[in-house]
């Protein structure tokens, strides 16, 4: 059961402002979804050793190569000036 206190905590962790009027429905939806996914609690997973998959690296090795396009990622930022991304002050 997700209550309003838990929802506020999750919203804070996720950096997601939830409008007051949506909170009740959202808590209800998430409670329903958790009810649905809780079916996995019945399943016995003891046959799977955690180590076996947790430590397997699936990424291939990096290969150095020149970039073939002209990336301009600063342009993609909503606010930027002179090639820098603009952000609010972090410390007063």
């Amino acid at each position: 059961m997700i209550d309003s206190k838990t929802l506020d905590h999750l919203a804070h962790l996720a950096r997601l402002t939830v409008p007051e009027e949506e909170k009740e429905q959202l808590a209800k939806d998430i409670t329903n979804i958790l009810g649905f996914i809780d079916t996995i609690q019945k399943v016995d997973i003891s046959e799977v050793s955690k180590k076996e998959f947790a430590q397997k690296n699936v990424a291939k090795e990096d290969i150095l190569a020149p970039l073939d396009s002209n990336y301009d990622l600063v342009e993609a930022a909503p606010l930027h000036k002179d090639g820098f991304v603009q952000v609010p002050k972090v410390i007063e």
């Binding site: 301009d72 609010p88 002050k89």
Partner: protein, 468 residues
Amino acid sequence: MENTIENLHKKIISGEVKIKDLAYSYVEKAKNEKLNAFREVFSDINEQIEYAEKLLADGKATQLTGIPVAIKDNVMFAGHIAGACSHMLDHHKAAYDSTVVKTLKESGAIIIGRTNMDDGAMGSSTENSAYGPTLNPLDETRVPGGSSGGSTAAVAADLAVVTLGSDTGGSIRQPSSFCGVVGLLPTYGTVSRHGLIAMGSSLDVIGPMAKTVEDAKILYEVISASESLDATNIKKEDRISDAKLKNKIAIPRRIFDQGGIDEEVKENFETIKKDMEAKGFSFTEVDLPHFGDALAVYYIIMPAEVSSNLARLDGIRYGERVGDSKVQQDLYGDTRGALFGKEVRRRILLGTYVLSHGYYDAYYNKAVALREIIKKELEDVLKDYDAIFTPTTPTPAFKIGEKVNDPVSMYLADLFTVPANIAQHPAISVPSGKTKENLPLGVQFIGARFNENKLFELGKVVESIRKY
């Protein structure tokens, strides 16, 4: 004659059809469509046309040269908006080409536009798009499925010859079934994800949607050819497949035990099975005890990955920023709260929950372990059988608005498609008939990893017997 790659390629080579005329005839159709299948029809395609004409003149034309294609709005095409149909990325211009777009361009295909989808690829109907739903071309009161619903509607209505979508839990196969087209989920790792706007990184795969199995195969072969810039891409020499069909198909035991499976879906499934038996295929019920748990596993792993992946959309780096907050913390929350759609916010919060202190072991770790069990079950069965056979979806296309306020019932639309994503196996959806109300139905084959070729062969068998 149907506008397939095969047919149009012959006409392009013989000179019966001019590349430029063909491209602009599709641009006109796409501009005037009323289904909301396209987000944008590109106005700058002349360079692509000239390149295709040059390939043709030099005798270097590929099967895709001059073929009008469309891409889902989460696939990056340099200089064009790639917005994932989210207000968060309304004006997000791609800074580079995704690997799939690069390979399409090199083949001489003409990318004519980008298609509608659920916000951030999260949904099963396109109703979560920030720009309104796409209508199903076969019944405009119904959804086309999702999240790649714009791409499938575009193929079904011949607004593009073939299209690209992405499939995280069924987002290519489910809408393909709803719109009566062929959709392929390739083996995870065979198509580069570089330049795909990420949703669930261990699940996302880019794949083709087409009118015929052969067209899906042609497009798949082009987009899977490059290995570049994706750390989980599998080297071509490591993609090992069985060469020949054994003509043996597996069906999960008690597949229809779960409620909510439409009677006409069951009947159609049985009909296709009987007709394939008459052609020499044998069907055996097999135990896949955790097949039905895949959906619950998916709704833990996927939101966990969504909540991590979407942390980068914070009002600082990409897209849009909301409010004039002087405090960084508020800026994140206000931007994300205002610009993500409802389903995206739901999944971020759910993902945050299953990853949070105190719940991590009960949900995320448990789901990851169960994923290994499901993987092993599928692998074991597919050592003896060519494929696992299921309907693609539990029901035909539903009405617009029917499920939009009931997330769990919407999630059940992915019941049969999710296991392949969880196990990272390939799967194909092929049109298999129509209901009394004339709505398309589809069947799905899930194959062993790297055995796309077997899926194409099986798909062609269904094509040869399907009942309309």
